[in-house]
């Protein structure tokens, strides 16, 4: 019982503290802006921090690589942070970096674990006076325009990419026949948007039928097993496989190979992981979509660097929450995506927002 009470007391205190922090957060943010308008930092004072989930997948590894390349361009180094997909660990790391060094010249380029993780991250950064750029996840009602240190939120139109690969798939199967869909984790925005894109494409092509749609949780091994089951269920009726990410597409490819159907069934995915690009150039996969991980890793740091050194006035940016351009990769252009590389010109302060395709609706 005593332990229980103690726990309860701790929890209550924790909640109170959190509420208090939240309150002072927005307040002190305003004063920070008044005291020190952007541009107070010398270039060598800027601290660049890139934070992603982990370095064990090619996409996030490429992201950090892009951050390193930008850092090299401005003769700095990027501090790499990874939080293993644990929200609590991510918040702790953010607290750590905001508690050390010259925070006002710190720049964070962050991949929040989930939508709700973005709120405390931007509030803390605002309170500490550090520049922050977030990508992929944020709650719909949280807007960078309400903060002066949260420079931008960059994401990608999942409906658009889902539709792009669906069109590529439909073309590959000759405009008619049956396809199956491998969905991602069903309660994520990425899975929902991408699938909505597929449905939009199917609505334009009534002669293509969706035989089945199942979830493989964005996971390669699950997609392998699931595809084998779907091949048993529908057999040769399956002309194409639409997967909500490349890992699942690659799992499907392995299932097709085991069934001796490699190359006979069209497969599409999203993310442009190296194995998928290789499969696209080899002809076993039809298409994938790239968000350009190295660019994502560099651009957030570049925005922060430009703002911190006074070359970018945050208040003049027209849209700070925007969709960025994504690239459909087919056999024709697979070679140029085979080795992820960054174009330093895109990180020039004048070019930071060139890839914006529109505000997040």
């Amino acid at each position: 019982m005593t332990t229980f009470r103690a726990t309860l007391a701790l929890l209550t205190t924790g909640t109170l503290l959190l509420t208090a922090c939240g309150g002072t957060g927005s307040g002190s943010g305003a004063t920070t802006a008044a005291q020190a308008p952007g541009g107070a930092c010398k270039p060598e004072e800027v601290k660049l921090i890139g934070q992603v989930r982990n370095q064990t997948n090619p996409y996030e590894a490429a992201w950090l690589q892009g951050g390193d390349e930008f850092a090299k361009k401005v003769s700095l180094t990027q501090q790499r942070l990874t939080y293993d997909g644990e929200s609590a660990k991510q918040q702790e790391q953010i607290r750590q970096v905001l508690a050390t060094g010259n925070v006002r010249c710190s720049v964070l380029n962050v991949l929040p674990n989930g939508d709700s993780d973005t709120t405390p991250i931007v509030k803390q950064a605002q309170a500490a006076g550090a520049y922050v750029v977030t990508q992929w996840n944020k709650p719909a009602d949280l807007k960078p325009a309400d903060y002066d240190k949260w420079i931008a939120h960059i994401t990608y139109d999942g409906k658009e990419s889902g539709k792009q690969i669906a069109h590529a798939l439909i073309t590959a199967i000759g405009g008619n026949g049956g396809i199956v869909a491998l969905q991602g984790i069903l309660d994520t925005a990425a899975a929902k948007d991408r699938f909505a894109g597929l449905q939009a494409a199917l609505a334009e092509h009534p002669e293509v039928t969706l035989l089945d749609q199942q979830t493989a949780d964005f996971d390669r091994a699950k997609a392998l097993t699931l595809t084998k089951t779907l091949l048993t269920k529908h057999g040769d009726a399956i002309k194409g496989i639409w997967a909500a990410n490349d890992d699942m597409a690659l799992g499907a490819l392995q299932a097709l190979e085991a069934a001796g159907k490699s190359g006979k069934v069209a497969v599409v995915g999203i993310d442009a992981v190296p194995d998928a690009i290789k499969a696209v150039s080899g002809g076993t996969m039809t298409a994938t979509v790239s968000s350009d991980g190295p660019w994502q890793g560099g651009i957030g740091l570049a925005m922060g660097y430009c703002a911190a050194t006074g070359q970018l006035d945050v208040s003049t940016i027209p849209t700070r929450a925007f969709f960025a351009k994504q690239f459909l990769i087919t056999k024709d252009n697979a070679a140029q995506f085979a080795t992820p590389k960054v174009d330093p010109a895109e990180f020039e302060c004048a070019n930071l927002f060139k890839r914006a395709t529109g505000p997040i609706s």
Binding site: Q55, Q65, T225, T229, E257
Partner: protein, 318 residues
């Protein structure tokens, strides 16, 4: 029917009932092709569950599969012919990886026996070490396996069944023999039944415990090689979620979390139940949005029904 018998045959009856229902509802379910597919799909889980079962019999919990398999998957993909290193060790590479898995298992066992730390803590720690090793080996570039011998495990077929299936079947038979006819197997059950009594009889309990963890680790190493053959590349997440799937399978099949009861045969029935369930629900066309919930309900009902007559005897539920 006595309670003991029910515990032994209940899960088997549940498996048969499930299979019968799916066979009636889906013509594709009752094809030979689907049987081949089912056994292929269950092969990796079977090998992982064998490992987990040895530890469960002791009354311990092993949560290290995710990390150990991650490290072993990366290791095997770098040791056989691959896109990143110049090594081409073939079968020796797989043996080395089984040994690596065994070493991880031995570490888990030694830590929990030596330091008297609850096994789920030490194995979670070892899992984290394994994931760390995997991350270092991964180094930002996914190694793709090009060794035809290893890739044949997943794509080559004998009599319509994949080699992975035969491998899993061989491991099941071997594990069953070890459990029935060797000291390691018999003591594992006895330790789970009453460790203190065995200790008082002068048996070196610790040694057998470490042995069981080591066997489990070796199973995870082999399972990692099987996943790598199936997926064609070394993947850090090769064992993600498999610890819990394996423990679920073991318990559904009648191996008890408290130790001392059940065994390889029970656990394998559990593996088949989970595999048939996942396969059958897709084949009869259950919407993916409710599939997981349906799976959960069936598992809970199956376990509940099996244990219902035993509920008075099992006074302690941990």
């Amino acid at each position: 029917m006595t309670a003991d018998r029910l515990q032994t045959y209940g899960p088997t009856a549940a498996l048969l009932a499930l299979a019968a229902v799916f066979a009636v509802l889906s013509p594709q379910f009752r094809t030979l092709g689907n049987l081949q597919n089912l056994l292929d799909a269950g092969a990796v889980l079977a090998v992982v569950t064998i490992g987990a079962t040895y530890v469960l019999l002791l009354g311990c919990i092993d949560l290290s599969a995710a990390g150990v398999m991650g490290a072993c998957a990366l290791a095997v993909s770098l040791l056989v012919a691959n896109s990143r290193t110049a090594l081409d060790l073939g079968p020796l590479g797989v043996l080395l990886v089984v040994a690596l898995g065994a070493a991880f298992g031995c570490l888990s066992g030694a830590l929990s026996v030596g330091l008297k730390v609850p096994s789920f803590m030490t194995t979670l720690g070892v899992s984290a070490i394994g994931l760390g090793v995997a991350t270092v080996l991964f180094a930002g570039v996914q190694p793709a396996v090009s060794d035809p011998w290893l890739l044949q495990w997943a794509s080559g077929r004998w009599l319509g069944f994949t080699r992975v299936t035969y491998l899993a079947a061989a491991v099941v038979v071997l594990a069953w023999l070890v459990q029935r006819h060797t000291r390691l197997g018999r003591y594992a059950t006895a330790i789970g039944g009453g460790e203190d009594i065995l200790r008082l009889s002068g048996i070196q309990v610790g040694r057998y415990k470490v042995g069981a963890f080591t066997v489990a680790g070796a199973c995870y190493g082999l399972a990692a090689a099987m996943v790598t053959a199936q997926l064609g590349s070394g993947i850090v997440q090769a064992g993600a979620g498999l610890s819990f799937a394996a423990i679920t399978a073991a318990v559904v099949g009648g191996t008890q979390l408290a130790g001392g009861r059940g065994g390889i045969a029970h656990s394998m029935v559990g593996v088949l139940i989970l595999t048939v369930l996942a396969n059958g629900l897709v084949l009869i066309g259950v919407s993916p949005y409710v599939q997981r919930a349906v799976q959960g309900v069936i598992v809970v009902v199956a376990v509940g029904a099996t244990l219902w007559p035993l509920r008075h005897r099992l006074e302690v539920v941990k």
